[in-house]
């Protein structure tokens, strides 16, 4: 190493030289004031470059980016020719590795970053806090599928009364489906089906939660997918239901859409 070229000085500042090369550089820097000045400027410059670009790391991530990830995962998962393995879905959505049961997860409401990351808590400890048991169990289900909760505004309040009537009528006409519907949304992880059968007609189907949100007012909503023996497994319907406040809250369907074959409808809130 006869001359200290720019590459060597930069690599020295970045700690990329092996120890012998670094010693050679140091001995030469002692005799070369200009090179030493350059090294100091490079070192200070590196700190400034980092500082100049680091603010964004503390900004709230826009909902649209989180939503993009979740929507993209769903549409990939829904495309028959490219099944995304569950462990990759978990990785994309940051579910803890090996998370099998919803009970391992709950909400971290202190997270200021604009989304709720799953946080592992002790099941035993949570059981001991009886007052929160219902809410915690529910929250656990919310994150059980690894889906993160965005904050969504909604215009569905005005539809609520009408939709509630529809839901009640459905519950009366088909209590088996309604029971499965409530069970799936209240207790099942996303992509876990609850199957129902109507013993009177022989019809049946399944309710599958697919995605979870929290609205600005704190209400939990879940997108779901349904299939039944009339339409067949290749013709799922999609919908969104929101949970009434309170420990015994019921799930009220707010949106239901029939999907084109092979597509996932864009659900807007």
């Amino acid at each position: 190493m006869k001359h200290l070229d720019a590459n060597t000085l930069v690599a020295y500042v970045d700690g990329e030289l092996d120890s012998e090369s670094a010693r050679v550089v140091e001995s030469r820097l002692a005799q070369d004031a200009e090179a030493a000045r350059t090294v100091r400027a490079l070192h200070d410059g590196a700190l400034l470059i980092k500082a100049a670009h680091n603010d964004v790391i503390h900004e709230t991530v826009p909902d649209r980016l989180i939503d993009t990830v979740m929507m993209a995962v769903e549409s990939e998962s829904a495309t028959a020719e490219s099944i995304v393995p569950q462990h990759l879905v978990n990785m994309i959505l940051d579910a803890p590795e090996g998370a099998e049961t919803a009970a391992e997860l709950t909400l971290d409401d202190r997270n200021p970053a604009g989304y709720r990351g799953p946080m592992v808590v002790s099941l035993a400890r949570r059981r001991s806090v009886a007052a929160f048991a219902s809410a915690a169990a529910f929250a656990a289900v919310m994150l059980g599928g690894g889906f993160l909760l965005g904050q969504y505004q909604t215009s569905e309040v005005r539809q609520a009364a009408n939709q509630q009537r529809v839901s009640v009528a459905s519950a009366i006409n088909n209590p088996w489906r309604e029971a499965a519907f409530q069970e799936a949304l209240e207790t099942k992880r996303s992509e876990t089906a609850v199957v129902w059968t109507n013993p009177e007609t022989g019809n049946g189907g399944a309710i599958i939660p697919v995605k979870t949100y929290r609205r600005e007012d704190g209400t939990f909503c879940r997108a779901f997918r349904t299939v039944d023996t009339n339409s067949g497994p290749d013709h799922p319907n999609y919908g969104v239901a929101c949970r009434e406040q309170g420990p015994q809250g019921r799930w009220i369907k707010t949106i239901e859409a029939v999907a084109e074959v092979g597509t996932v409808p864009k659900l807007s809130f």
Partner: protein, 169 residues
């Protein structure tokens, strides 16, 4: 991947210099990554893979003219020359963060991505080389040219005889 979003945004912001363009880039990168998630090698770093996707999308966008690249006038020092003995101290005082950001945006795209990966994302030269699919020697030459150009642009008075060396490997 969602946990990586803040870092993806940081990298994208450094590349594009614009919040809106950066988030569009992150969004496009996430969509592409998920479409191709089966190409990701488990056990390798997801962040490096995402950076690579983002870098490729960004370069593509510049090529088709959707995004502006660099202004290519990189050796013009900004600000006034600082004469005299206290030049270095005065120079350091003028190294404001805004000037650094402007300076980074004036670097050629190839140098900008190497600089951001090493100096902001904390990647080693080897990781940077693997992420960008270029030799380590190229990382070093791009990085040193970027750093020295930035020192000149931001510092104004940095007169280094090393600046001209280090061609593309």
């Amino acid at each position: 991947m969602i946990a990586l979003l803040p870092r993806l945004r940081r990298f994208a912001r450094g590349l594009t210099g614009s919040e809106e363009e950066a988030d569009d880039l992150v969004q496009a990168a996430c969509e592409r990554a998920i479409q191709r998630i089966n190409q990701w090698q488990p056990g390798t770093r997801l962040d490096s893979w995402m950076f690579r996707i983002m870098q490729n999308l960004w370069i593509d966008a510049i090529r088709v003219g959707k995004l502006r690249g660099s202004h290519l006038s990189l050796v013009e020092p900004e600000g006034q020359k600082t004469p005299g003995m206290d030049g270095e101290q005065a120079t350091m005082n003028r190294l404001t963060l805004e000037a650094v950001r402007r300076g980074v945006q004036r670097l050629p795209p190839d140098q900008r991505s190497v600089l951001l990966l090493v100096c902001v994302e904390g990647c080693s030269y080897r990781e940077t080389a693997e992420t960008l699919g270029i030799p380590v020697g190229t990382v070093m030459s791009r990085l040193s040219r970027a750093r020295l150009a930035l020192n000149r642009m931001v510092g104004g008075s940095e007169r280094s005889t090393f600046a001209a060396k280090g061609g593309e490997a």
